[in-house]
Amino acid sequence: MNARHKGQTITAEKSDKADKSGQTDCADNCHGTESAGGKKTAKMMTGADIVIQALVDQGVEVIFGYPGGAVLPLYDALFKQSKLRHILVRHEQAAVHAAEGYARSTGKVGAVLVTSGPGATNAVTGLTDALLDSIPVVCITGQVPTFLIGNDAFQEADTTGITRPCTKHNYLVKDINKLAHVMHEAFHVARSGRPGPVVVDLPKDVQFQKGPYKKPCTDCYKVYQPKTEPDRAALEQAVDIIAAAKRPIFYTGGGLINSGTKACEALQRFAKMTGYPVTSTLMGLGCYPMTDKQHLGMLGMHGTVEANHAMHDCDVMIALGARFDDRVTGRMDAFSPDSYKIQVDIDPSSINKNIPVDLGIVGDVGRAIEIMTEIWVAKKYSVPKAQTADWWESIKQWRAIKCLSYTQSKKPDDVIKPQYALERLRHFTQDKDNVYITTEVGQHQMWAAQFLPFDKPNRWMTSGGLGTMGYGLPAAIGTQIAHPNALVIDVAGEASIQMNIQEISTAIQYRLPVKVFILNNQWMGMVRQWQELMHGERYSESYSEALPDFVKLVEAYGGVGLRARTVGELDDVIQTMLTTDRITIVDVCVDQRENCFPMIPSGAAHNEMLLGPDDEQSEHNKRKGKVLV
């Protein structure tokens, strides 16, 4: 290990698809009218019909959207068909979040349809959210007719210009002959490699024009062929190092969820073979059963003591589909200083971006784990208990700290602690198989990650990278649309929920029994916590003044409102919530002073966690950390 080779990155083997002849064929077929062959076979349709047909052929069943002038032909085409279900949201941002919830909970591509100008600009937050969390979404935006582009026409915005940095790719389709190809390519780009949002901007006149339609073809998208097959020799090297580890840890991220259920199962098999501890990022929760004894809980800023200390002290770190985000690493120069770092990621730019790794392997993470398992078996590796006994002993000691403990007095009239509310929610939902949790952003989000168990992938929808308040309710709506019989709960805060609260109306319209579990502490809790820790308890603008009565509010929409003020009321309220058939808001009045611990303050290392309100952070860290977010 002394002769280590810092930063070696090995790409996937060349895909055999991109041969030249295939490309020419494709260009003829896909651009239709130019070739004689294309002309004969292609069916002529209007632009709007081409879009609908392409969506259907791409397996889209549901599209989230909001109509407007520049998409009227598309909505007309929607009206005349029955294969595609349109869900009318109340704000375009919510349309994208709903599509994200749909995509994240099914593994399929989410579809969105919005109008030009404000429709497109409202979608930008959702698109950025999908980009940072690698969620596959195709968003069709209307545009003013081609002859008006650039004229400052009514509801005109430079959509491709605005969305360029917040999408994986975008298109402005001015030529009807290219529309079918672009639509299919958009789906291909959204779902291949590291998934992400793709925008197709479609001028209104093109929606009316007639052009050729072509079915999707597998080899047509030469422009984007990310390599997915990892390098076997590198994986052999990785397995040799993994087998010899004394203090190993699997650091698992959202890439596993994106890679699919098979990848998560492969991880579970491989982790069981090795017997090594596993920790997951916020986005990775559920890729490995959190109730399993090998799982140390979430890592990072509000992760568990055992996970963070294990990351800091390990000798071999196996990063799988995780990108060393700043919420995870804490202080970069003190991040896991003595470990040999192996990183598998489908996106080459995620390797060596924040933290230099020793062995970077580009490829699909599920495939990489399968191959590592094969190698492990072929080489007849097994890890003797003694090899990692000391390591597990250290982990046992860190676990004994019980970093997630809190004090809840259980007299019926006592104030509810937010953690207790979530533990009771966990209690009443643990027997149910089909539970999907979404969250808004803030303290409640971190508590949900800490206190709710995620044993399966695709059950946890949260805004990790962008941290978008207002994500949870629309994401829950998208999830419930995908899983009509499942229990979908949005764990929310009273501030976040107000950022997309209009979506209650959507839930009512489609009879979606989404549950909104508000941990109401009357503060923007995470802002308040940082003001308390970093800004001398000057609580600037973080108090939730003039709150609505959430019970009456949801009742006004036609939903069910419930409130729990005390410990004695909590269980009944949760049980009632689980039986309702309409959108239900539960207003849980929780302790206003509670903060989210453990916490790695910004600028501190993994082993410098604050465990509770009595822990003091060093002045040095406080000063350095203040400028960080």
Partner: protein, 180 residues
């Protein structure tokens, strides 16, 4: 295939300038995608040129020079590779010997001795006169950036009034073409 050489800890702070060639689809917005990546992620770009090289396949070659630590340079290349219409990213600096050339047009105004001296130096630098009046020349010069800068410096006291530079175009030495 190894795409990134070892990033040594000791070299982390050294700033390097790299010349990178990109083969991209010549479609609207492709240049904005590449430039936006530099501005959005805070990378330094020293020079950038772009022109279509194959009208049949509608491919453009972009040559850019950028400065950063080895880790940043590696990031730049990987991020460029992620842009959908970018087909090929080639780090000429890393691949071996390469030729880089730039063209500049310089307008020098003056009379008498200065005018004669400008013409004499232009001859030494093998710059061509492409326009002339009785009181001015326009010189065309090609060469690597250092040569052009040196020529500009010499022209300054001789009545230099205007400069146009193209930025760098570069190509690897040897028999092999840029592989797709």
């Amino acid at each position: 295939m190894v795409i990134a050489k070892a990033v040594k800890h000791s070299k982390q702070d050294v700033q390097e300038t790299h010349t990178i060639s990109l083969i991209v689809d010549n479609e609207p917005g492709v240049l904005a995608r590449v430039i936006g990546l530099f501005s959005g992620r805070g990378y330094n770009i020293d020079s950038l040129t772009a022109a279509e090289i194959d009208p049949d396949t509608k491919q453009t070659r972009i040559t850019l020079m950028c400065t950063g630590t080895p880790m940043v340079i590696e990031q730049i290349k990987n991020q460029l590779g992620r842009v959908v219409p970018v087909h090929k990213v080639l780090d000429l600096t890393e691949e071996g010997a390469f030729i880089d050339r730039e063209l500049a047009l310089l307008k020098v105004s003056g009379k008498g001795d200065k005018r004669i001296e400008a013409l004499r130096i232009a001859d030494i630098f093998r710059a061509r006169v492409v326009d002339s009046t009785l009181e001015s020349f326009v010189f065309e010069i090609t060469g690597d950036s250092g040569k052009i800068t040196a020529f500009i410096d010499l022209m300054k006291p001789l009545g230099l009034v205007e400069i146009a530079r193209t930025g760098v175009a570069a190509i690897a030495r040897g028999k092999d073409g840029i592989a797709e």
